[in-house]
Amino acid sequence: MYEICALFVGIGLRMWLFRMPRVLLWISSRPEIETPLTSWGRLIEGEALMRNSQSYQNKHSYHGSTLLLALISYLNLNAPFLVEILFIASDVISAVALYLFAQKFLRKELKSQKECKEKLFKGVSSILIKPEHVSKVPTIICALYMCNPFSLATCISKSSVTFNNLFLALFLLSAVQGSIWQMAFYVALSTYETLYPVQLLLATGLCAWKYQEKPSTLKICYLKSLACFTFWMALILTLSFLCEPTTSSLLSHYKFILSAPDQTPNVGVFWYFFTEVFDHFHTFFMCVFQINVLIYSIPMSIKLKSHPVFLVFMLIAITGIFKSYPSVGDASLWLCLLPLWSHTFSYLRYPSVTGAMLLTSTILCPVMWHMWINAHSANANFYFAATLAYTTALVLITTDTAMAYLNWHVRIREGLKPCVAGTSEKAVLRLMN
């Protein structure tokens, strides 16, 4: 019931905000929301260039994917009112997908908890997943996704992050269903859009292995998902190629993501560093920064082998924080998923600090931007400091969540408060399963 209310409130809020030109203008010019890769303004410009020059190669301002441009320009030409509806609808579908995903996932967790209750330590019932988690958490997630300011701003700024979030939400839903075809499809779509989600392939095999109806070995799952992914990717790329028959246009999108040439300020860590760094170190540090986004997937998929959904969550979070053109929309998806781990929240070390830090840095970003760009009295360092605090807050939230999650798994096996023999001191937690 509440989730339907939340959906309607979210739709209402979005429609109301779409009717407020001043707010819309302000939000659409925020560098925290719009990046060169995802901005609506650039998309429109690309569309106009495409229409007027009759050539698809004008990619000086637009750097997104070809298919999205084709879709939007088709809509804009034939039914402009559908564009807003498309954005609202994709948010609604994401929210519903997240709701169903959370429900299925928590039910499965609860079931598996029941199945292996012999293995659990005695007296840990207070921290186990309870039925009210299953009933409440999906609603909270749905409401959060529909009403939180980050996704609201992303939707009404018509940023293409909305679609990426939609693909990832659908990916999550298909992950708990264990259907390789669907998972591979959504990974392929998302990869086509923003490239980084390719690392979700590691999780795809694990999800299939864990949640498939017919059990098969991990190797086969991986092979299958790789094959499906290749198929879908090839299909999408072919479509894209048909839309715009040059190879350079296909590659320029990914080149733009990987080499991050546009250093318009955003909430990420790339722009400031690469405006400051000397040119001959540029390539080296670009490699370091890009590896930084992708490298965590390997150790984490080893560590979280038996928790593929948490792995997906972590990968989405890390990508959203460290990618070359992040926006608050990227963070909105995984921040909304946090209630999924509410049973482990008692093991968070400093939730109030990270929460306050995220809030403060989010508020500081526009203020520092105002001081720098409008008031002329501050400089780029002020804004960068605010975005760095924002990134740090997000990193702290992810690590804290991961620690709490792992800690919880140790606790249900080894008891609530293991005591070191002979003393009353608490055992120091080590990151081990």
Partner: protein, 624 residues
């Protein structure tokens, strides 16, 4: 950990200490050892190193003034004639604006007139603006000086930047109309015609404001809109040049005090600091320069003051000052960027930088943050102690119970959760829900206050009262209605405590952010709010009335009333009209000058205060 535990009961004392520490720290800012002497960061300015070429005599300037201020013709026509005769490019710009929003609201017309001296040494890529507001739509005795200067400038070959002599009407509206047109911006409530000609990008500007035809000393005005300030280097240049040419200079009518005792020294500097901050709190500008600063152009106003007892320094000196400033600005190679943008001025020779004035504020805000943290820690300790106790008592039975527990939990799985939920008798909403409801309600009330002035006209027709009274009544009514609405949802003790923690953090963040934009406002709010809110902790009913009184005392409404009581100087008859006037002014300034004060109070401060108000009426234990 145990050390922290011991500190917890004393946290109130620590917070109060921090608060007063912050205040004392702030008061000490004007001390000799802490305030710093002004210096030039930008070497290119070279103030006073060029010979003054200004050769017009007092009589000549006086004659120009007489010509221009001819009562039989329009000032603008005379100005145009004179500047054309001297050989400047002269253009006009017409604009319309709305000055009043409450009561007599009508669209007015105005004309700006400007002449450009093109730089002989460069293409028109950069320029300096000398702005002369035409006061009361007729005079400004600075016109004679500036025109004499323009006449000479035409013949001089060393100007590297175009110089625009801008004569604006209707105070800041004219300047805004011109600047908007110059930059291609439209901003309500001014609408301006396109400019026929431009010079390059405006590097810097200053305004000459001369109401009488004699001058004793020059008062510098620096405060821009919403806490903006010009670069300190520009201020330094003005001070240095005025001194070089043998005139007295003040800021906010405060001079550098003569040698005196340390106490007197601190007192006079502190007085000047407070005067400046008082101006900044309102978020409005003290002169036309504010409009320039809004566009990222460093600007300052030279306001001349004449006091017959002090004698007349004469037009020529002022002319040389203006020439000197223009030449210093002409020397600039880059925009102002070196010196401070964040400062307070205790006198013309000293400044207090952001690095010095932020720590006292930080101490005060830390008091609130520490209070919030202590409450979180306390709650954690209570929780862990309770679980410890539970564990000890349960220890034996636990092993058997737990398996059944899990079974109980798991039985419910997959079946109807709804019925189970009803069984769990949870009469009290969880704190998170209470916090959310209160915060959303309070912010919605904030929106109502923000939009209330829209109904001014309807209200005044309905109750048949003048519009300025009706807007005040509207705001007061919504304010008080909010207080009742927010308390109609009664918080539990737990909810009140949680909301209290959230509100304290909210307050800290809000005031900190405000202080970055407008330090004076942030400091004022911190002084007003931090101490009362620290004392508002819910829990005991004993001093509930007193707590409510304290909370009410810091409501935006009472603060407005207190300010009016203070400004009416013990003449109670005028308090009401002062109060009405206060509301009208704050609202109109937000409309006409885009000051953020009204928006800030309505949308951010009032909701925050409502949260604290809700906390004071949360349930509490009765202490016997």
């Amino acid at each position: 950990m145990s050390g922290l535990k011991k500190l917890l009961p004393r946290v109130n004392k620590i917070c109060i200490l921090l608060y007063f520490g912050g205040i004392v720290g702030f008061l000490l800012l004007s001390h000799e050892g802490i305030r710093e002497n002004c210096y030039f960061s930008e070497n290119a300015l070279l103030p006073g190193l060029v010979d003054s070429k200004f050769s017009a005599s007092d009589d000549q300037i006086h004659n120009i003034n007489l010509d221009i201020l001819d009562p039989n013709s329009e000032v603008t026509d005379e100005l145009e004639k004179f500047m054309l005769r001297v050989g400047l490019e002269v253009y006009r710009q017409k604009f319309t604006f709305q000055e009043k929003f409450v009561g007599n609201a009508r669209i007015q017309n105005g004309t700006n007139i400007y002449g450009i001296v093109r730089a002989p040494r460069s293409a028109s890529t950069e320029c300096i603006v000398i702005n002369i507001p035409i006061l009361n739509n007729k005079h400004n005795f600075g016109m004679g000086i500036v025109l004499a200067l323009a006449k000479e400038m035409r013949k001089q070959f060393y100007w590297a930047k175009d110089v625009i002599f801008l004569f604006t009407e209707h105070g800041s509206f004219g300047a805004r109309a011109w600047l908007n047109a110059y930059h291609g911006i439209v901003s309500y409530p001014v609408s301006a015609n396109q400019l026929p000609a431009r010079a390059g990008s405006i590097q810097s500007a200053f305004t000459v404001h001369m109401e009488e035809d004699a001058v004793s000393f020059i008062n510098l005005l620096v405060e821009g809109y919403n806490g903006q300030l010009p670069n300190l280097d520009l201020f330094n240049v003005a001070v240095r040049l005025i001194k070089i040419h043998g005139m007295a200079v003040s800021v906010n009518y405060e001079f550098v005090p003569r040698q005196s005792s340390a106490m007197d020294d601190i007192k006079s500097h502190l007085g000047a600091t407070l005067k400046m901050m008082k101006k900044q709190v309102t978020g409005t500008s003290s002169g036309n320069h504010g409009e320039f600063i809004r566009h990222g152009i460093e600007a300052i106003t030279l306001q001349t003051v004449y006091n017959p007892q002090w004698g007349n320094a004469g037009f020529v000196r002022l002319g040389r000052v203006i020439e000197g400033i223009s030449r210093s600005l002409n020397n600039l190679l880059e925009r102002f960027h070196q010196s401070f943008f964040f400062y307070i001025l205790p006198s013309t020779d000293n400044y207090i930088s952001i690095g010095m004035y932020m720590p006292p504020l930080g101490l005060m805000l830390a008091a609130a943050a520490i209070k919030a943290l202590s409450l979180i820690l306390e709650a954690n300790y209570v929780n862990s102690e309770e679980t410890d106790k539970n564990k000890e008592t349960k220890k034996d039975s636990d092993t058997k119970e737990s398996v059944e527990d899990i079974d109980d939990i798991l039985k419910d799985m997959g079946s109807d959760y709804a019925s189970k939920e009803n069984d769990i008798k949870n009469s009290e909403a969880p704190p998170l829900q209470q916090i959310l409801i209160t915060m959303v309600t309070s912010h919605m009330m904030g929106f109502l206050v923000f939009y209330a002035p829209v109904f001014t006209e309807t209200w005044s027709q309905m109750f048949n009262c003048p519009q300025d009274i009706s807007i005040t009544l509207l705001l007061v009514t919504v304010h008080i209605a909010g207080m009742f609405i927010i308390t109609s949802y009664r918080l539990t003790l737990e909810g009140g405590k949680s909301l209290y923690v959230v509100s304290l953090l909210h307050q800290g963040i809000l005031f900190g952010v405000v202080a970055i934009i407008n330090f004076s406002l942030g400091m004022f709010l911190a002084v007003c709010y931090v101490l009362p809110t620290i004392l508002l902790q819910p829990g005991y009913m004993k001093f509930n009335l007193l707590r409510k009184f304290v909370a009410f005392l810091v409501s935006p409404l009472s603060i407005a009333a207190l300010i009016c009581l203070y400004t009416c100087n013990g003449n109670p008859a005028t308090v009401i009209s002062e109060f009405v006037n206060f509301h009208v002014t704050v609202y109109e300034q937000s409309q006409t000058q885009q000051s953020w004060l009204f928006d800030f109070i309505a949308l951010l401060l009032y909701p925050l205060w409502l949260q604290f108000w809700a906390i004071t009426s949360s349930e509490g234990k009765i202490l016997t």
